[in-house]
Structure formats: C-alpha cells, structure tokens
Symmetry: C2
C-alpha cells in the first residue's frame, strides 16, 4: 500500500533527537513532554476541495466544522483535551471572502470543545484547502496509544458506522468526552479514531499492536445512513465516521459502559495472535477484510 | 488593505479564553505558557505552487527547505528556538513520489536547526502545497514581541535586502542564532522577520507598537541580487529576505553588534511618534513608503 510505504519511509527518515518526544510519526498525534503531569499532543490535518469536500455539496460552515473536527478527533483518540488551534487556509483571491464562512464553522466547534484559535494565515491557492494544527494535552496516566493492545483484547466501537458521506462527515461531534469517560471507567489498551473506515483503521490499530483481529459482522453497529445495498460493507469501508475504536483486556471489559449519553458503545470482536484480518459471519463462515473498498471481500 | 481587514476580523472573532495564551493572532508566532522558565511558541505557514514557488523554477529540495525555513524564521523573530515540526503536504496522486525530494530539503534544514519532525500527513490536492506547523520555545525573559517598541527606538536590520527571488528565497538561513546573540548583547524592544519586504514589515512592527518610522534610504543594506534599475525599491518591496528587523532604545543601541559571523547588522532609521512611514533621502528630501510595490513611491 502506498500510504504504508510513505509512513515507513517517514519513520525511517524522521527519527527524533530529543528524549522529550514520546511518540513521533505513526499515531493519531505526536506526543511530547509538557509538564510534570501532562504530555503535549500535536497534530495536523487538512481538508482539500475535491478530496475531503466539494464547495458544491458542502457549505463554508460545514467545511470549517470538519476541518477542526478531524483534528479534535485525533486528540480524542489519545484520551486528550484539545487546547490551541492554528488555521492555515488557501483559496483563490476572488474567493477570499470565503474565510469568514469557514471561520464560523471553525469557531463554533472550537467553542464547543474550548479550543482557542491563536494563529493562522491565509494564502492564495488555486485549490481551496483548510489546514489546521491543533495542540492538546493529556494526563500522563491517561494517554492511550494505538500500539499497546495485546492478543485477546476485546474491540469496542462508539456510535454507528457507515454512510457518513451523507451528513455526518460535516456535523460529527468528536468523541473527546466519551473517550475521557471510557478511560475513567477502564483504561483501553489501545485506541484510534475512525477516519478511513473500520476496515482500514482496525487494521492500523492491530498492526501497530502486533496483532490480527476478528470482527463479528452482525455486531457492527450500522448507521441508518449506511448504504442499503450492503450495510456491513458500508460500515467497514465508507470512512469519515470519526468514532472511537478501542481495545480492552477481557478481564476489565465489564467496566466498559454500554452507553454514554446518546452514544452506544458496542463490542464488535477481538484482537488475535494470528496476524490476519477476519470478518466472521453469523453462520460461522469467514471473510478476509481488506483495507480498501476496491478490494471487495465478498 | 485586504490583509489588515482579515487580521482585524480574526482578532475580533478569535479571543482566547485561556489565560495561558500570552499572544494570539497578530505576531510572528502565538505565545502560550509552557513551563516555569519558557513560553511555548506555535506557528504555521504554507508554501503553495504558483504563489511561493513554481515547480518549474524550484527543485523539490528547495521547496522543502523554504517550507520549513519560513517557519523557523518566525520562531527566530520571537527570540526563540525551534523544536518540533509537523508537515502537511498536498499533491496530485501522480506526483506522490515528490514527497521524498521535498522531505530531503525539510530534513536538511531541520537538522541544521535541531528541529524534530514528529508528524504529518500527505493528502491529494490538485495544487502542490507544503504546510508546516512548528513549535518552539523561548526563555520568558528573552521573548521579543513586535508590539513593544517606542518612538525614538532605533531600527536595525540583519544581512542584505532585495532580489531574494533570484536565489535567497530557497536557500536562506533563518536568523535563529543571530537573534539569540542580539538578545544576549542587548534586548530589542521589538522584532519581526522580513518576509513581505522591509516596507511592509517595518510598517507592521511600527503599527503594532503604535509608532511611525523614518528610514534613511542610503543606509539600507542592499543585496547584490537586488534589481539594478532601482536598488532601494528592490530592497524595500521584493520581500522574502527572511532577515530580522528590530528596534533598540537609543541608550542601549551601542551594544548592538556590527556583525555576527558573516552577517552585518545595520542601523537604518528610527521609530517616530508621528504615525507616518517615511523614506529619507540623502539630499534631505522625503518620500512616503507604501506597503506594496504597486503603489510606487517615486
């Protein structure tokens, strides 16, 4: 896979010199020393016209919401709290007035999660993009990486999956508070946010932890927006759910809440010693799960 | 001016809630509390194909060098030390192999300034851009804002100005070490890095400090690369010099070094009570300095 190759290259070439860097490239955020009790979390993500939205189908407000939301979701997946955002936008000169509409979306979700927008810039660009950098913090004892789960750990997912392209990608609520509550009840052994789709992101968590996984198809909580043609397929591959996927050791799984507010928490499978990525059907048959849609598993 | 209008709007709408935020939008970097001795500096800047470079005239290595260099220059202008970088790139899928060439430039200047690259992402985009976020720190007693100079303070500039489009924009050495040495000898009352050109950036420093300025044309250190047709004009308006402009109270100006290594430090004028922006010629005549090239002063 191209992405894997790139990340491998980056990890090889970007070896941090400072001991203060706890995690560099390869998790939802970078982790560095902050103060005695907290780590500093640093992350950046971009939304680009024609790739993550189109100005034909998304309002400026929605573009702004999504641009900051995807970054907050990364901080949530570490168990952290977002703090400071910097906004870098590119747009055609003739569309410079767009920045206000986009900022309204950014500032509304920023207010919801107490993010201070403390910097930014506006550049000319033939393609509209909104690149946000977000700094956050997490109590040292609360941090959850994606690489620390073990075979046998159970897999849970928040909310429902699939069909996010319809609505949710522009209005999702990053799971900052849910992550905090989960960690308080029982600390997950690993966690990741679902941006590329369950199939792809579950594999990232499993591989980072040196495991495979087995997901029980009929347990996946499918969204009402998922494609009716193949609901499981939609939940596995559509992406942009911005839910949490996390692993919990079997002996503490009973402490995982079933619901947090309106958000269901669902057990969907487990991590395995064998490094295969398996979808188990109710009739006992099994399919391989590929990372991407075009390698259809059925 | 459009840019001023945007910054005013942003300052009005992005009022930080946290006391930890010492400076938000409107300086070279944002400033927040870090630990007892240091502030954390956060900045982001982007280079876009067709605006800040073209792939026809710049090598991938040069694009990478510039992308991180402009951010390091912002940290330098605060008196700080760069620490952690995150790299967000957009490019066409067919050009994804470009990332390696760009990263080589990024990693070389990163090594030179001990910046750890600890995160990033690669997105599809019809226009090539490299957006870097940089975190740094500065000793609390060393920080230099752009808003704290006073009328009568003398203006100094590092290096030479003008014609940076020829070569320097892709190979400049951000003035991190020079800034540190200047601060150790005598702390400037304000400082800014020259990205948009002396005319524009001197005005930013002066306005932020509630002053005007008077620059003595014949004292401006003009680069050998400046346009031969109008050398002063070139030094004032070309931009992309990435030198330091700083103000020093007259009674301590004698402590400003004349040279740091190969880099000349030149006194070019002073800040004034009267909020006008004046270029003084050797014959005693005066011109108004506009911020932008197209409002030619002569």
């Amino acid at each position: 896979m191209e992405e894997e190759k790139i990340i491998r290259w980056l990890k090889e070439h970007c070896v941090p010199e400072r001991n203060e860097v706890k995690t560099g490239i390869g998790d939802d955020t970078a982790v560095v020393e902050y103060d005695r009790e907290n780590y500093l979390l640093l992350t950046t993500d971009v939304v680009v016209d024609g790739v993550h939205f189109t100005t034909k189908t998304a309002s400026l407000y929605q573009i702004g919401w999504k641009a900051l939301g995807v970054n907050i979701s990364d901080i949530a997946a570490m168990g952290g709290e977002p703090l400071y955002g910097l906004v870098s936008m590119g747009m055609q000169k003739a569309k410079a007035r767009f920045y206000r509409g986009i900022y309204k979306g950014i500032l509304d979700i920023a207010r919801m999660f107490r993010v201070d927008i403390i910097g930014g810039n506006l550049s000319r660009s033939d393609v509209l993009f909104v690149n946000i950098f977000l700094a956050g913090k997490v109590k040292k004892e609360d941090i959850v990486l994606r690489s620390t789960a073990r075979p046998g750990d159970l897999l849970f997912v928040s909310g429902t999956l699939g069909g996010a392209q319809k609505r949710k990608q522009f209005s999702f609520i990053p799971r900052v508070n849910e992550a905090k509550i989960i960690i308080r009840k029982t600390k997950p052994s690993a966690m990741i946010d679902l941006s590329d789709g369950l199939a792809s992101d579950a594999r990232k968590l499993a591989e980072a932890s040196g495991c495979g996984f087995e997901i029980e198809a009929w347990k996946i909580p499918v969204s009402v927006d998922a494609s009716r043609k193949n609901r499981i397929f939609s939940a596995l591959y559509d992406g942009e759910d911005y839910e949490l996927l996390f692993a919990v050791p079997p002996d503490t799984a009973k402490f995982v809440p079933e619901k947090i507010g309106d958000v269901r928490i669902t057990k969907i499978g487990k991590l395995t010693e064998k490094k295969t990525f398996v979808l188990k059907n109710k009739d006992g048959s099994k399919n391989k799960i590929f990372k991407e849609k075009f390698r259809h598993f059925s």
